[in-house]
Symmetry: D2
Subunit: 416 residues, 4 copies
């Protein structure tokens, strides 16, 4: 008799295939779940394989639209970035996948969910915290943290032997010396030879962008239109190509950045569990859209709103995403701070990509008037009285003069 | 009889030449002061001109070393950046120049200092707040905020006419349709045709970097060594060229970035006085050194120290610099927070520049061991018990499960 | 012929009476405006006097309800406080009064507004920044910053002489050696003898609270009910007295705190213009309601939501209020962050006031269940596995052990 | 043969006595350690008992001086407070005790340390994270998280039975219906009947302060002198009693607050492990010294330094202390930010305590001159030109007028 139904996040790869077989061996009934979040994957082959191994059902859920609209676009609005560099590509996908998996689990009467994440990474935390928020009574089966499992499968050979014994077909291609995770927004490379942070990634590792040296010798110019901080139009080929449907726009931005070698990241980052780890990432479209957004905020966002958003919201939101804290009270709170910051972020950025670099060419807004050419002009005094600045400086200096006087009196000369 | 001595920041250009003559006309004795902060300038011509107009003395002070060591290097340590993009090139120079000018003023018995900054910009504020801190009783003469002056010299023609009447020689080259400010770390371009934020800067405007399209077709690789977050060695040409003296290192980084088209910025920024303004900047060497520093912190800085530094110190320090608040109690306080954050930032970054882009190739540290390959490895369990993570997740989820339960009870389904 | 209509904030006192007469003398037509924001004032006498001096109209606007509901209650929700101590009583009133004054100005066709604030205080800034936001083209006439005015009226005697010459009646009571500002939430005392920060305020200065020594010898207990962080019910006399209408509730809280000597503040604070200033305040009801609110958040607010709110919202909102920045983009932004933080702040606080002190006796919530007695209990293990904490500590210590190891290796012993 | 030496934090109470016996039973040799951190305790009786049970050694370490000087005084400098209310009394003691225990462990060749903390509280985390930082290879034995132990001792009766079987004497006094932890700065009460957050603590629970109703009917005035934010002198009895040695000063502040009923706290707080918990605390002296310190900062600390310290240092330091993160890189970093903020905090605060309340009577500084009576005075214009404020306001309003204009154009009327 079955010990109950488990919904397993199944990728078709060796690890989750072994986990599937092992769960069956433990007496569970298994519903195999696979999210289509834009990764390059043979979904049909995965289905066939899962059912062959013994899954009682295979469910693919297409979450690309939610991913772009509910997650990637708000990340652009918030200028999300982790540790100054990482655009959070993997982290962004996790809440979407977890939500879909829990839905499948509930629809299929599963008491438990399972995944193939290792016990040292961020993803286990991201998935499980989301699972517990969305279904607090769910049981999580994490084989790579279960001594019975991880002691039995101590190396790749053990997995292969087990697969052979269970007639699980294994791809003949040699395993790459790193592991990857891919979605519509990015691909990550880590582990294996990348674990030495001084090893330069081999040229053929990169997948979603061409090498800048191989990119076209002519720059490519384009426009991004934003409404309340959300990309609403991407204009290419001097206006000949215009896309505006969110997923299509995102894919087009990916293609644009990809062919021009834009969006590679190589970083040593700090995992939530306190271990440092080296990751290489390609985030082509997001890099371009986010950079354009940052630029437009210069033109259209009030200085102090920007300061508050930068210091509090961007940082906090990015850290929460990275740590898998999407479905938490604090993230709900911080998410509520994104939209109100973007009311005026309406306009167009003209930009260029070229052999790995992104450059702004210009920007304008037809609706926002915080930037005022006349006022800004050094040659104009309209509506501006230079004496006011004297008063401004005089008042600002009240406190500062006291500081200088006090330093003099105490004999501490102020210096650089 | 003289109304007293004034120390004027004199550049040799039209504006400050007219101001010099005008100050003399007002009855002041004028000491002309010029800081050598690495800008391309004909200091001898400036001296000759100042004395010809009537300055009683001309003093050049070479502040390049202080600028690099006391200001640029700490900015690298702090990853200083304003509004996500601007590396603060102009702001960095101001405290150094102001300190030198006050010193000259004091040594020459000047009761007042004067400058040619406009009444709408940041620089007037930056200079004057520094003046008042360093010498609280100083008098500041800011002609461009004095109605008597700015009404008399309402346009360029008025300046030229006055110069002619005073026999002040004016360069025959046509004035450029923008204004610039240059130092060892950067050059700025603003005003004129750049005041339309949608105007792409003309190719021939840029001065300190080649156009990425004109940069070499082969990438250039190099190493930066850091000690406590300070660049101590720059290694080029596969080890054939090594520089370590601070100013020399900085100049070499400039040359490296310049020939590879790295370090251009185009931004609409928020001035301290509340006006938005468009600026184009070239900051070649600083861009490269700062990016390498950011990368090394990934390898060598504790996660939480970095978070605190990023959220509090970087932001606050950058804003204070931008607003000209260097010589203030709060900046003294914030500056004291830089060094303690950098104790472990020791190591080497290998990087590449190519046609406008900067890429990290790898990094290592011989002294810091926060990164631990074995620990980080997904294939190793040495010193790590995966069950611990289960406990970690369980404790993290206590609060989150309550959130999920409460949402369910209240009928608010949690969703993306 | 009139130079146009001016709307003057008129209090009936000597200063604004002289200003009224002076504005008429300058050729303006004057609409006298007086906000009823709960201060103890003879509104009829003020009207008679204004009209007698020559105002063409006198308008009182009752803003007490807006003040309590739109300003005081959100301040309680945000736990607003300036420099750890000051509950912002004066600052809270300013936006309400400014909005009413601009409305009166617009309804009466005034091109300008005027006030009697001094040139060194916060209130001029608070009023004027609000005026400019609400009516950007308004002209502000600030006589105490107009050299013509302040040189003419250099001392109190000049004002009295002028009043006599204009037949303006002056109260015979001797002027108090401090100045005050009062509203429904508080009264301020500053200037005069209080300018020596070491002078203890005389017992008879205080007005809105009894001296703790004169308060009843028996404590008084009460309950405050909150819904989404807003006080909805105040229960006194062991349940015999219950008030829930906002203004009434606030007045009752005032009376309760007043008779028990609660709500006095004495502080040296930092004004927006950079001058330190000593202020004494009585904020009886707000002190009690805010303290109860802080307590209830312990029971009902998620830890991380609270941390974010405390660190970002409370601080920023309080500073913006103090600096008169209510009607600004950033304050609109920060105000939008208050309500989402208060969703779960529902419950009841039982408290006691006694001779100047406030004490919590207990608290409960019928709807929120973040506090869980069983879970919290040291004697219970239901739903909690102590081994989880071992894993939690183990993961937390990964980073910390590295720190300790590194310190040992480098020979820096960690010590207190 | 012994399994090795364990250093047990031993209090003499039932729990740690049972643990001692149990450790011996497990085959360990036990060194009993007791820190004298100012708690009321019969150290000799504890020693006798420990040795009787079988400890091979009993070590008391007097850490009162370190506690006051290295921990309590910096907490005053930083105005440390957790969740607006809790003065961190227990948290403050933990690093001191942990350091002493590790020292004893090392001196006695112990491979492990042990404690009697429960598995749900903060203290286990505070102790263990400190242990791991100070001695990364230490083994921690936490019986209350060891299933073998906590299943065997499921209730108090099991402990008593075991004690009887081991001839461990147990105090005849009935166990109080709450548990306490005491040190020089405070006592905590939690658990038992206090777990219902709506239960008012019984009058006889409180120990370190008299009930405000029982306090003297006459207020008691005193002075606290500070040097760089550290209390250096406490003056009582109108100058008749002066104490300045740190521990003595702290004890005298305790006595003063105690007899006047000052320093009680009742709070529902958020534990590090994510559970809410109710605690009652008495922190008499620290309350008084900290409040005086906050006041003096108003007079002597620059506004912006204070803002930075309040927003970043106070909050972060308090959270780190609470979470037991004292010996961490980030706490070392944050601790380095305390002293530089206190350079100018020199002066004297005159204050009053009376039946539970603390009031400032006045303050002065002989060395700091940031407060300037003339400048502050509303009646003086010396060194101040009111027109400057007009310029200040004009510049501040540039951005705000644009906001108002934009709102008007878009038809969004600005309102409260």
């Amino acid at each position: 008799m079955s010990k109950g139904k488990v919904c397993l996040a199944y990728s078709g790869g060796l690890d989750t295939s072994v986990i599937l077989a092992w769960l069956l061996e433990q007496g569970y009934e298994v519903i195999a779940f696979l999210a289509n979040i834009g990764q390059e994957e043979d979904f049909e082959a995965a289905e066939k394989k899962a059912l062959a191994i013994g899954a009682s059902k295979f469910v693919v859920v297409d979450v690309r639209k939610e991913f772009v609209e509910q997650i990637c676009f708000p990340a652009i609005q918030a200028n999300a970035v982790y540790e100054n560099v990482y655009l959070l590509g993997t982290s962004l996908a996790r809440p979407v996948i977890a939500e879909a998996q829990i839905k499948v689990a509930e629809e299929n009467g599963c008491f438990a969910v399972s995944h193939g994440c290792t016990g040292k990474g961020n993803d286990q935390v991201r998935f499980e915290l989301s699972f517990y928020a969305l279904k607090p009574d769910v049981v999580v089966i994490a084989p790579w943290r279960d001594p019975e499992f991880f002691k039995r499968f101590a190396g790749r050979k053990d997995l292969l032997d087990y697969a052979a014994s269970k007639n699980i077909p294994v791809a003949q291609t040699k395993a790459k010396p790193w592991s990857t995770d891919e979605n519509l927004a990015h691909i990550s490379f880590e582990a294996g030879i990348l674990e030495d942070p001084n090893t330069t990634p081999p040229k053929d590792m990169w997948k979603l962008t061409v090498d800048p040296e191989d990119a076209p010798n002519t720059p490519e110019d384009f426009e991004v239109h934003f409404s309340k901080g959300i990309p609403t139009k991407l204009v290419l080929d001097g206006g000949k190509k215009v896309v505006s449907e969110p997923v299509e726009l995102f894919l087009e931005a990916n293609a644009l950045a990809r062919r021009n070698g834009v969006g590679r990241i190589d970083i040593v980052e700090n995992r939530f569990i306190g271990i440092k780890s080296r990751g290489c990432y390609e985030t082509p479209g997001l890099t371009v859209l986010r950079s354009a957004h940052v630029d437009l905020e210069g033109l259209t966002l009030d200085r102090e709103v920007r300061t508050i958003r930068d210091q509090f919201v961007t940082t906090t939101y990015s850290k929460l995403l990275y740590n898998g804290m999407y479905f938490t009270p604090e993230c709900e709170y911080v998410r509520s701070m994104i939209e109100p910051s973007q009311k005026t972020v309406n306009g167009v950025v003209r930009a260029r990509v070229y052999k790995g670099s992104f450059t702004v060419l210009g920007r304008f807004s037809n609706t926002e008037k915080l930037y005022d050419e006349t006022e800004s002009s050094m040659d104009e005094l309209t509506g501006f009285s230079p004496e006011d600045t004297s008063g401004f400086i005089a008042v600002q200096s009240i406190r500062i003069k006291k500081y200088g006087e006090s330093a003099r009196e105490k004999g501490n000369n102020l210096t650089l």
